[in-house]
Amino acid sequence: MSKFFTGKEIDGKKVYGSYIFTERGSEGITMGVTNAMYNYGFLYEDPKQPYHMEGFVNSPGAVKGLDVYKELYKCCQPAGLTNAYMSEGLDAFKSGQVAMQMNWFAFFPGLYKDPNVGGAKIGFFINPAGPKGQFTQLGGQGISVVSYSKNREASLQYIKWFAQPDVQQKWWELGGYSALKAVVQKPSFPASAPFAPAFLKSMDMMVDFWAEPLYVDLLLDMQKRVHDYVVADQGTSQAALDMLVKDWIKVFKEEDKKAE
């Protein structure tokens, strides 16, 4: 579908099929690429042996998933968007430069209301499936309480209040995103917003991050390796993921964790 639209001239302007994340500085390209790689079998580690990454991070499926993402980038990404994340994607979509964009659900209420691209002109779909299943990357912000806060009790009470079903329902109605089952599993939920059915399906297929304290170092290494391959054409997908495994082993070894 992306290839169909790419290169067409509409109103004298060249358009492109799709926009995907390519941001290098923080987390962008990793958030994008894992959407493809999960569906081809990428895992952070051996489920039976923690910190055993060889053969899981760089499995043949993971390599294929990375190649699929690169193919989509090469064929159909608008020229110049080599370091682009959320706002560039929104701009590309709202200006009519791309037919489809990858982005977070948080932006969809605003897109739906946009007079140029919203309303009846816009549709929403979930991450397409791959041979190993259909998954999507987790997004959003966590909420936590600082351990030395003077208002710990009040903060915890706030979280309890916010997590109540009626408050979460109100939050959804106001344009926020609730993942509470009491809200999303209501029969009326799919009809509550045009993007609600896609959101509901996405909630069911989310893959959590690797809840590892060294996640920042791991993320930065992955940003480098996948950007080098996808955007800068450095080496092969296999080499990129092999080097990523080496990077991650080094990170863990520096913290005296046994990794392989």
């Binding site: 290098r24 968007l81 080599t82 370091n83 430069q97 950007h227 800068a232 054409d233 520096e254």
Partner: protein, 322 residues
């Protein structure tokens, strides 16, 4: 009283003595010239020690440890030369150094050629040369962050002017190439932008050199029927050479530690194609928080620049003495 005293310095001094508290006046009278000089430069020395020398010594100390700034309470371990060994055997570090070398060499070559050429032209003192000198100097008056930002837009393949200008002169499709996103063109993009910004600086230094050459040397050469080329080769170039070398030294040191403009322009991308050593250092120090490792990297860079600059200054002094 003060106005009258102003006409007579000794009366003024007497007046000051009269109004100065006795204890202070005894103390100041007791200070020698040398002590007074130290007193005046002491604040600057303290500032230099605090923000230059002390951090340098501290960085050297940290470079032998496994310290991470985001884990200040973690046990500090002395790792000897392990950080240095890691850096010197890291392929990514060597790649960053190669990118930096490419950037430094090509910016210097282009800036010297263009800067010297512009200086020769401006030195002709044609009508309006003052105005054109000011116009040429404008790029270097901008902040590197601003330059990085607006060149990002200029080099955009879809909305930027650069591609259209190239297409106008060469006839190629403006959408067929992208300066910042192309692996082959991105390194030249940062060279181009830095050259645009700092050629005026080299021009200024060369202009100072050209204007320091006495006119009578050229008159004597004309009397001896030396051609323009001969005058340039035997008079202009040798006499401007120390200034040129100074410009090369300054630009070389600046570009070796270049960060802001390139970070805004490409963020080291695409991939790591334009990742200068300073960008790698920033990532290690302030993203991965590997303070010990990045301190060692900073020391290595400092020693490299310091050593190279020392050798170069010796060569410069030899040229000046000729």
């Amino acid at each position: 009283m003060l106005m009258k005293a102003g006409n007579d310095p000794s009366a003024f001094a007497s007046h000051l003595t009269a109004i100065t508290p006795p204890r202070l006046s005894r103390r100041v009278r007791g200070l020698s010239d040398r002590s007074l000089a130290w007193l005046f430069i002491a604040p600057v020395m303290i500032l230099l020690l605090a923000i230059n020398i002390f951090p340098l010594i501290w960085a050297v100390r940290l470079s032998f440890t496994n310290f991470k700034s985001n884990l200040p309470n973690a046990p500090l371990r002395f790792v000897g030369l392990a950080n240095y060994a890691d850096i010197l055997s890291d392929e990514d570090v060597w790649r960053a150094m190669q990118v930096t070398a490419h950037f430094v060499v090509w910016t210097i070559v282009l800036q010297v050629l263009l800067g010297f050429g512009l200086a020769l032209l401006i030195n002709q003192k044609f009508r309006g040369h003052g105005f054109w000198t000011t116009v040429i100097l404008l790029p270097m008056m901008l902040s590197p962050a601003v330059v990085g930002n607006f060149w990002t837009f200029l080099l955009q393949p879809q909305i930027g002017l650069f591609n259209d200008i190239v297409a106008f002169f060469t006839g190629i499709d403006p959408h067929s190439f992208q300066m910042l996103g192309d692996v082959k063109l991105a390194p030249w993009s940062i060279v181009l932008v830095d050259t645009w910004m700092w050629t005026p600086y080299v021009m200024l230094i060369c202009l100072a050199g050209l204007r320091s050459i006495p006119e009578d040397i050229y008159e004597a050469a004309e009397v001896d029927r030396a051609s323009r080329w001969r005058q340039f080769w035997t008079i202009t170039l040798p006499m401007v050479l120390p200034f040129l070398m100074l410009a090369v030294l300054f630009r070389g040191i600046e570009n070796f530690k270049m960060f802001d403009m390139v970070n805004l322009l490409t963020a080291g991308g695409p991939g790591s194609i334009t990742e200068l050593a300073s960008i790698t250092l920033k990532r290690e120090a302030f993203e991965k928080w590997r303070t010990g490792y990045s301190s060692a990297f900073a020391i290595i860079l400092f020693v490299t620049v310091f050593g190279a600059a020392n050798i170069y200054v010796k060569a410069l002094n030899r040229v000046k003495q000729r």
